[in-house]
Symmetry: C2
Subunit: 241 residues, 2 copies
Amino acid sequence: MSASDSHLSGVALWRRIADAIRLDIVGGKRLPGERLPGETELAERFSANRHTVRRALAALQAEGVIRTEQGRGSFVDQARRVSYRIGKRTRFSENLAGQAGTISRHMLSSRLENANANVAAALGIRAGNKVTRLETVSSADNRPMSRASIWLSYVAFPDFATRFAENPSITATLASYGLADYARASTRISARHADADETATLKLAPGAILLVSEAVDTDLAGKPLLYALSRFPADLMELVV
Amino acid sequence: MSASDSHLSGVALWRRIADAIRLDIVGGKRLPGERLPGETELAERFSANRHTVRRALAALQAEGVIRTEQGRGSFVDQARRVSYRIGKRTRFSENLAGQAGTISRHMLSSRLENANANVAAALGIRAGNKVTRLETVSSADNRPMSRASIWLSYVAFPDFATRFAENPSITATLASYGLADYARASTRISARHADADETATLKLAPGAILLVSEAVDTDLAGKPLLYALSRFPADLMELVV
DNA sequence: TCAACTTGTCTAATAAAATAGACAACATGG
DNA sequence: CCATGTTGTCTATTTTATTAGACAAGTTGA
C-alpha cells in the first residue's frame, strides 16, 4: 500500500489504511480493548507518513471503532461483525436476538406509487399497478444496522402503511391481515458504496460499503407478499445463508 | 456529490462519479449500446468539472464498461451482473452455465500448512493439524470472476493438490476419492475492498468492491470436506440464495 | 457545405493529500 | 525523579486532485 497507488485507485491513502485496520477489527483479528501498534510503527508498516496514519486513526475514532489516548496509544473499542441469518424464515428481530440488547424498527416514510418493472416482476403484478412503499431503518442497541425499502401490492394490503406505522413490525402487520406465517422465497445479494442518503440514515463514514439484499417474501402457498430492498453496513454485518 | 465531500470520504470525486455511472450500468438501468449523456451534461449533473468527468469515463473505459468515440459520445459496452446461485448443491461451472460461454478454473498455487483456528473450526479438526491449501481463479469467457482459497484436511485427502492440478475441478477431484456427491452446509457473506493481490488476479480497477463468501462443503452424512473463501467482484456478480 | 454538437488536448491556477521535521504534552516503569 | 516511549500540534514543502478556459478534431443532419 503505497501513496503512489492513490491516483490509480481514486481512494486516499489514509482511507485505505483506515479500511485495513477496521477490517482486522471487525474481522475479529483484533479484540476489543487490545492496543494497536504505535503510530510510528503503523506508518512503517503501511509505508506512509505518521501524519497520514494519524488521519486514518482519527477517522476510525470518529466512527467509534477505536479510542486514542495521549501518551498511551490507540485501543480497539468495538466488537466484531454481527451475523444476519438468511433462510426460509427470515425475521429481523428474531435474527439479531442474542447478538444485541434492544432491537427496533423505525418507519421513515411511506407513499403510494406505481410499480416499476422490477417491483412488478417481484410481486407478480402488472407494471404500473399501485403499490405501497415503506422506507425503514432498523437498529440494534440504537446503532442503525439496516436501511430497507419495502413494496407491497396496494390492492392486497390497502392500509398497510397505517397499520405498520402503529406497530412497525412486518410480521405483526401481516398478521393483522390474517397471515399467520410467511416465508422467504428468494434473496439476491450484491455490494456497493453507500450513497448520501444511506450514509446519513445509517450513520456511516462517507464511502462505506453496503451489503444489498433484494428479497421476496411469500405466503405459505407461494404467492408473493412483499419485495424488500435492504442495505446493511458491510463493516458491521455479515449475511449467513 | 460535490468536490468538497472528498476530504470527508477519502474517495476522489472522479471515482465516485465512475462508481455512480457503473452502478447504473451493471444494475441494468443503462442497456448495452445505449449512449451516455455528454461530458458537459454529466459534469453539470454531478456538479463537477468536465475534466473530472473525463477521468471517470477514462476509468470506466479501462475497465471495459463503456467505450468512447470522438465526436459521438460514450456508449455502454458491457452486460449487467451475472448471478451466482447459492444452495445445497453449489457448483461453480454448473452455476454459470447459460450465462457465459466458456467457464474455466485455474490453480495459482497449492501448499501444505497448519490449520488456524478458523479453518480448524470449519473442517471440524484440531488447530495446527495439516491442511492442503489451494489458491484458484475461476473465469467466464476469459474474464476472472472468482478468486478462491480452499482448505482440505491433509490426512483425509493426501494428494488432493496433485489430482486437482491435473483436472482443476473440485467436483471431479472429490469424485476421484470416491465421493460421488457433496453439499453446501453453510455460507457466510460479507463485503470489502479488494487488496493488491485480488486486484491483480481478478483484473480489477484498484479500489473495487468484493463480495466475500466463506463456505463449508460436507459429504452427504454432514462431515466437513472443505472450507472455501471465495471473492467475487461486486460489479460483475451478485449472489442468489 | 455548413452550423451545431460531440470528444481530445493543451495551459494555467487553486485546493487538498501526503511527506518531512521539530517539539510539546502525557504515561509508564524503574 | 527521570529516561523512554507514546500521542498532540505546529510549520513547511512536494505531489496530486480539481477547477477553469480555450481551441482542435471528429460526427451529424439540415
